[in-house]
């Protein structure tokens, strides 16, 4: 079995199994912790708790006006990163072909130029985040190994992906066989590392953010606090 076959076969299977089971395990482990019901009477006129939770999820998408100035760089960097990453992962034609092979699902791809710009912006935001984490006293104080592991495992698929983009995506997809099997295998393996790490580190915020914001939203809603 060559490296690409390994990456496309057993390695991918293992990564997906760890990703799915690990994520479910962590979510279930948190959600089955004891619930402590709030027996106090809700603020008169407070909407249903679910409404409060959903409002908090939406409000959390952008900082309150009092905090915009202080959090602007972090927020904009985060938005550019997340949007860029989503565009590259879901919009690049070879990625869509990969997902179609796995799931049968597909959708129209975005133009290559958009992908190159998105990937470039994503890499720049990642580098900016790293510089900030290594130099900002607050971030240096609160950072853990998880932050550097997660950063590295997010950065690697981006860089190895850029390393296999030598031609337009239409040309790549038109071929019957891969002409750069080792770089492609390395790219795929870095993605698999990311999937394996996902349930164990802070990448889980991709799922947890809604629950976390929602829990506070319910608490605040109950008390009549306007977010």
């Amino acid at each position: 079995m060559d490296l690409l076959s390994f990456a496309r076969g057993p390695a991918l299977t293992v990564a997906l199994v760890v990703f799915v089971l690990g994520t479910l395990w962590r979510l279930a482990g948190v959600m089955r912790r004891p619930r402590m019901p709030d027996l106090s009477p809700a603020r008169e006129g407070a909407p249903a708790n679910l409404v409060g939770a959903l409002r908090a999820v939406v409000h959390g998408m952008w900082p309150r006006k009092e905090f915009v100035q202080a959090s602007l760089v972090t927020t904009v960097n985060g938005y550019v990163f997340h949007i860029g990453l989503a565009l590259v992962f879901f919009g690049y034609a070879p990625h869509i072909a990969f997902i179609r092979r796995l799931t049968g699902l597909s959708w129209p791809a975005l133009p290559d130029m958009v992908m190159y710009l998105a990937a470039g912006a994503t890499i720049i935001t990642l580098l900016a985040a790293l510089v900030s984490r290594l130099t900002n006293p607050v971030l240096r104080t609160i950072s853990t190994a998880d932050d550097l592991i997660t950063w590295t495992l997010t950065f690697l698929p981006m860089i190895t992906g850029m390393a296999v983009v030598f031609e337009p995506s239409a040309t790549i997809l038109a071929r019957d066989q891969v002409i750069y099997p080792v770089p492609l295998a390395v790219h795929l393996l870095t993605l698999e590392l990311l999937l394996i790490w996902f349930p164990f580190g802070k990448l889980m915020h991709a799922f947890l953010f809604a629950f976390s914001r929602g829990a506070t939203g319910m608490r605040f809603n109950h008390r009549g606090i306007r977010l």
Partner: protein, 434 residues
């Protein structure tokens, strides 16, 4: 992330437990707190550091150790070792160090001296992590370990003995009689039956008895059947701040049980933020079921009696700015009530740059006002508040929490700032019209 640093070398201990027993007690308490909401919040942090930008202690000093999420470092370690979904793996691989007695001792500086549990950090957190609530839960463990600032421990011991940090119940009739005589108002005490059980903040039973007279004046004006009562009179629940859950329950039950005993349908809380947090939102937890009485803050009461025209007030006709007490507004949802009362008083409100839900804490909440070690930090925070107040150009500075007033008055005294800090209740009582 390293263990919390400290520039203060000496920390306090209570009791005779061994160091090992203290660590075990703290860990057991932490684990008991890890319900689903707490677990979600422990799991969700992405360590973006934005919470620092919301914390008055960080903003006023620029010291990274005051970053709110850093104040939870030991709780985080306890969670991931003992309660997280991967806890067995974390322990087996030694990925997270168990907090030591030295860690816990030094943690006092971050968990008691430099956090007012004001919750401003909760508002900025993109994950919605309620750091203030987590700090409160962390304090439960610190109390169990006998590791809290001695000044707070002293207040705790007093409240355990007297049911109040200010005075034993037996002295209440004398205190009220003296205040009644001084201010020329009838103050009821220990009536066998009443509709409203009126409670006080500790400071009102000492230096600030005018607040008792002010409340009595308004209650008498509306013809309410009310009383204060030796059985439950001090609502400023020190157990809530200290992390002493047993005391918090006992003080809470004293209020509710006394209200039930005299047939009161309402417990009226004083101008005290933490009283509101402890009684309005947490009393039912300790009571074990929905409360048989309604609990309202003095500001809600003033808002109601003005809105229903049970009292009317003279228009003062000046400019004022308002300091929002965190436990009432950001943590309690009473942002609009105080503003309606100010409007009724004809005060033209000029808001602070940061106000309402996002207003800065006075710097003394969560017991910090009583914690002598925190005095220099409080003064730093006061400078921010002073600048914001002066920037409004408002003639008067009003608030509706006695602890905030005391904190601000101490800051003003230190800064030689001669602006009086006025009580909303006092303004209403002083401007009642016939």
């Amino acid at each position: 992330m390293s263990a919390p640093d400290s520039a203060t070398p000496v920390f306090d201990k209570q009791g005779e437990q061994s160091d090992e027993a203290r660590v075990d007690a703290a860990m057991r308490s932490f684990v008991s707190e890890f319900g689903v909401t707490t677990a979600l919040h422990m799991e969700s942090c992405v360590r973006c550091g934005l919470c620092a930008q919301a914390c008055h202690f960080y903003v006023s000093t620029g010291d990274a150790k005051y970053t709110p999420i850093h104040k939870l470092e030991l709780l985080r370690r306890a969670y991931f070792r003992e309660a997280s979904p991967f806890a067995p793996l974390v322990r087996a691989l030694g990925l997270v160090k168990k907090p030591s007695i030295v860690d816990l001792e030094r943690w006092q500086e971050l968990i008691y001296d430099s956090c007012t549990m004001c919750g401003r950090c909760t508002l900025i957190c993109p994950m919605g992590i309620d750091i203030a609530e987590l700090v409160k839960e962390a304090r439960h463990g610190m109390f169990k370990a006998g590791l809290l600032p001695e000044r707070l421990a002293l207040m705790d011991r007093t409240a355990r003995q007297w049911g109040s940090t200010a005075t034993p119940g037996e002295d209440l009739p004398d205190i009220l009689a003296e205040a009644a005589s001084k201010y020329g108002v009838e103050i009821h005490c220990d009536l066998a039956a009443a509709d409203i059980l009126v409670t006080a903040a500790a400071a009102e039973l000492g230096e600030h008895t005018k607040a008792l007279a002010d409340a009595a004046k308004i209650l008498n004006r509306i013809g309410a059947k009310w009383t204060m009562h030796q059985g439950g009179f001090d609502a400023s629940n020190v157990g809530f701040n200290n992390g002493d859950m047993e005391l918090q329950e006992r003080l809470t039950r004293a209020l509710v049980d006394t209200a039930v005993k005299i047939g009161a349908k309402t417990v009226l809380l004083p101008e005290c933020g933490h009283a509101y947090g402890a009684a309005r939102w947490e009393a039912a937890k300790w009571y074990g079921q929905a409360l048989p009485v309604r609990i309202i803050h003095m500001t809600e009461f003033l808002d109601e009696v003005i809105a229903t025209k049970q009292i009317s007030v003279r228009k003062i006709g000046e400019t004022a700015t308002f300091h929002d007490p965190c436990q009432m507004v950001r943590r309690g949802g009473l942002e609009a009530a105080a503003r309606r009362v100010l409007a009724a008083l004809g005060l033209r409100l000029i808001e602070l740059k940061d106000h309402g839900v996002a207003g800065y804490c006075c710097g003394g909440g969560g017991g910090v006002v009583s914690n002598q070690r925190a005095v220099p930090l409080r003064h730093k925070v006061f400078e921010m508040k002073q600048q914001q107040v002066e920037a409004t150009g408002a003639k008067r500075l009003v608030t509706s929490c006695g602890q905030c007033r005391i904190t601000l008055e101490m800051g003003a005294k230190h800064a030689h700032w001669d602006k009086p800090i006025e009580s909303l209740l006092g303004l209403v009582a002083d401007n009642l019209t016939v």
